[in-house]
């Protein structure tokens, strides 16, 4: 198949722009896709019309949309779906190859992410129930009803959920999929190298019977993203700490920032640390270490050196391989300079005498590697002497973690914010303290890798509460 043209989708209608950019296959001059770009003012205009898109979704009951979502999941995983504007079809395998060609992700990771996304579609009723705390779907259809014997009514906060998607992880699309069953249209700005996943999900929804008007896809430049962020009723975006800070007081915007996820072993379990090596390795390296739910800091009361060596030995087995190698677990960087910048940041941190790269004793070659025209960073474990070390609480887009020793009694005051914190302990008092800590968004108690999350509980915010607000209501007796 030649490079498809990915058009703008305006309430489901393809629009071919005169502003077309070519995304090449990584490391080559061969085009992988031509992409229509939208100007910022077009997006502003279209935002005024999103009420029509919501009306199209409102014609369906939540129950029907849940069924459509489930069907869409099967279609996403198995069917040939339209791609581009020439009537071509994309098989699931074509999707894997296209995404690999522009993102640098190994095929095995893409397939894993596909299954993960498929799971989101398939569990939509659980997710819906989890996020709404068991709300009867008919309440959203009717506008009011009862929950747990109390009267409830919910009104939407927006006509659209806008998502500024990154290029580095197809699984983040999981965050917006449930919005459709909640009757909220989506407005997606894909990452430059990753139009494939949102496009395929949209096509799957449409084939499953969802009204096309619910889907808006706007490849655009910075000014277009700015217009979306400033104008859309609800916006999800991905960024670093400064982005989080910038929007922390804006209730319209939910920033998915750095996760700072941690794996902590309690004093009661530390003698059994060898039993937890598998979990720690998975937590650090799953999805090539790119997720915010991957562990970036391991905290233990003792045996820091032993654990660092044990994990390093295992992580050193993860090497840059051909993208189609079934054993490939390490992703290249779509923007090759990112790998250089990240490597420089790690090397800067290692200038401190209290930080040592333990993996360097086990891996083949340097951390920074070039292979097949792509740049890679090999897994890295840094043993740090204290939380004061510059690399102690850092997170990078590759399998990276620091290991620090800290008395259990000081852990909570030292670790700061954690999107996910796994605490391997049976110490009830400490577990209670952990549950009481507002800086932990998701707490796993026991030997659970940080990358394993359930979607029927909030993940960086509750989507239902983001899209709906509860109101009081009463009917006069005569009404």
């Amino acid at each position: 198949m030649s490079a498809p043209h990915i058009p703008i989708l305006r309430q489901g209608k393809p629009y071919i722009s005169l502003d077309v950019q070519t995304v090449n296959q990584l490391g080559t001059e061969d085009p992988a896709a031509e992409i229509s770009f939208a100007c910022a003012d077009m997006i502003k205009y279209d935002l005024h019309k999103m009420g029509e898109a919501r009306e199209a979704l409102k014609k369906f009951s939540c129950g029907e949309l849940v069924d459509i979502t489930k069907r869409a999941g099967e279609i996403f995983l198995n069917d040939d779906l339209p791609i581009g504007v020439e009537g071509d079809l994309q098989s699931p395998e074509d999707y894997v190859l296209s995404l690999a060609a522009t993102s640098g992700l190994p095929h095995s990771l893409i397939r894993m992410n596909m299954q993960r996304l498929g799971g989101i579609f398939g569990q939509i009723d659980d997710i819906f129930q989890g996020l709404t705390r068991g709300l009867d779907w008919s309440v959203l259809d009717k506008g009011y009803g009862e929950q747990g014997g109390a009267p409830v009514s919910f009104s939407p906060t927006t006509n659209e959920l806008a998502v500024i998607l990154p290029s580095n992880s197809p699984a983040v699309n999981a965050l917006w999929i449930p919005a459709i069953a909640m009757k909220v249209p989506v407005l997606l700005k894909p990452g430059r190298e990753e139009p494939w996943t949102p496009w395929r999900i949209i096509q799957a929804f449409i084939k499953a019977g969802c009204p096309a008007e619910a889907f808006n896809l706007y490849p655009t430049q910075h000014d277009g993203s700015g217009a979306i962020i400033r104008r859309a009723g609800r916006v999800m975006l991905f960024g670093d700490d400064s982005t989080v800070k910038q929007y922390e007081n804006d209730p319209r915007i939910e920033v998915h920032g750095t996760g700072y996820s941690k794996f902590v072993i309690g004093e009661d379990e530390i003698e059994n640390w060898e039993q937890y090596v598998d979990s720690m390795v998975e937590s650090v390296s799953a999805n090539s270490g790119r997720s915010c739910i991957c562990t970036s800091t391991i905290v233990v009361p003792k045996y820091g050196d032993e654990i660092a060596h044990a994990i390093s030995k295992r992580l050193a087995e993860i090497k840059p391989l051909a993208q189609d190698d079934p054993e490939a677990k390490l992703s290249g960087f779509a923007n090759p300079q990112f790998a250089e910048w990240i490597n420089e940041a790690v090397e800067d941190g290692l200038q401190s005498s209290g930080s040592r790269d333990i993996t360097s004793e086990y891996r083949e070659g340097e951390r920074f590697q070039e292979r097949g025209g792509m740049n890679y960073l090999q897994p890295t474990i840094i043993r740090v002497d204290s939380f004061d070390e510059p690399l102690a609480l850092r997170e990078f887009l590759f399998p990276f973690a620091s290991i620090v020793e800290c008395p259990q009694s000081e852990v909570l005051e030292k670790v700061g914010y954690s999107l996910v914190l796994t605490a391997v302990t049976k110490d009830v008092d400490w577990i209670n303290q952990l549950f009481d800590c507002p800086e932990i968004e998701r707490l796993n108690v026991g030997n659970v890798p940080t990358n394993r999350i359930s979607w029927n509980q909030p993940h960086e915010g509750n989507l239902f509460e983001f899209l709906y607000t509860r109101r009081s209501f009463a009917f006069a007796e005569s009404a």
Binding site: S17, L18, D19, F37, C39, D41, M42, K44, Y45, H48, G226, R230
Partner: protein, 354 residues
């Protein structure tokens, strides 16, 4: 007019302007002093437009650093002048003196406008930078020349640029909304058939009301570069293909380079501008060796030469780049296409702010 005739006309104009600006009786102190210092007499050596490369590039800082009186031609001595400003986000702005040029330029432009879309006798509204800018008087003169009156809504681009520089984008939106509210009120409640504004402001008005449904038939637009896609958006969606969109390229130092609006759709909305020759000439030059003119179809930096009795400005390098385009049957000289900020692909430029 053929291309040869256009060239002959331009060469004649060059000789006339050399004689005017470098004679003691008619030239201005700035150029007469320059001639003395340069040690050569342009009247002798510049006999055609091709010879214009003998001049160095005009530096627009001279319009800030020199007193305005030094640019008053001796032929105009004693006549009060208009002062028109350009730039000036910080510090003293650059200023150009003038008398009748803006009227000539806009009367010439008026002849290019379609009476169907810019009806004679129709009223205008100008939404954009007024204040010390040439546009303020020029658009009103254009309206008057065509038998109408002109309403004005001001916007201060210097303040907008400062806000953008400080990343206060929320303030930019609020200020734009303030300007828009005024414009929309006038458009709703007065009989207006034509508008001059900038592309962004046009889109912003169109977000609030249907421009064509409120009686506006023609939109003359200028101020910032526009991609073909943006031009298409303005014509097809903002003006709903009911009013005519007339993009222009110009500034205080040149006058107006015009486009051919009726041919935009067939050219995929790629806009080509033609300078008001022989009063001003646009040349697409190699940025590294500016004496070399780029080939047709190639991008290069825009060089402007202004040749009026009031103002002589040789080889001023604009902050834009564009594609050199072939002459057109309507304008028998080179055009400049798909104008964008110079270095747009390699650096971030605050442009198109209003």
């Amino acid at each position: 007019m053929t291309s040869d005739e256009a060239k002959a006309q331009l060469d004649e104009r060059v000789r006339e302007m050399m004689a005017w600006h470098f004679s003691e009786e008619t030239g201005c102190p700035f150029w007469l002093d320059w001639k003395k210092e340069a040690g050569w007499d342009p009247r002798e050596e510049v006999k055609s437009y091709d010879d214009i490369v003998k001049f160095p590039h005009f530096q627009d800082e001279w319009l800030r650093d020199e007193k305005n009186e030094r640019f008053v031609p001796n032929a105009y001595k004693g006549r009060p002048f208009n002062v028109f400003e350009t730039g000036g986000t910080t510090g003293l702005p650059k200023q150009r003196v003038g008398w009748e040029d803006y009227k000539h330029d806009y009367e010439q432009f008026s002849h290019q406008l379609s009476d169907e879309f810019f009806p004679k006798g129709g009223n205008w509204i100008m939404v954009g930078p007024t204040g010390p800018r040439r546009l303020r008087l020029a658009v009103e003169h254009l309206a008057n020349f065509r038998g109408g009156s002109c309403y004005h809504v001001d916007l201060d681009p210097r303040w907008v640029k400062k806000l953008i520089g400080r990343k206060e984008l929320g303030q930019v939106e609020r200020y734009q909304a303030h300007v828009m509210a005024q414009a929309v009120e006038i458009i709703k409640h007065r009989d207006i058939s034509c508008i001059f504004t900038t592309p962004r402001l046009l889109a912003s008005i169109g977000e609030r009301i249907s421009i064509s449904d409120h009686g506006i038939k023609g939109c003359f637009c200028g101020g910032t570069s526009m991609t073909p896609e943006y031009v298409r958006f303005l014509q097809e969606e903002v003006l709903e293909n009911k009013a005519q969109f007339v993009p222009t390229y110009g500034n205080t130092l040149m006058g107006l380079a015009v486009s051919i609006p009726e041919e935009l759709p067939e050219n995929n909305y790629s806009v080509t501008y033609y300078a008001p020759q022989p009063r001003a000439v646009l040349r697409i030059v190699d940025p590294e060796k500016t004496e070399i003119t780029k080939d047709y179809g190639e991008y290069g930096r825009v060089e402007l030469t202004t040749l009026t009795h009031e103002f002589f400005m040789p080889r001023f390098l604009e902050r834009d780049e564009a594609i050199r385009r072939e002459p057109h049957a309507k304008y028998a000289w080179d055009g400049v296409g798909d104008v964008r900020p110079f270095g747009a692909l390699t650096k971030k430029v605050i442009e198109g702010v209003y």
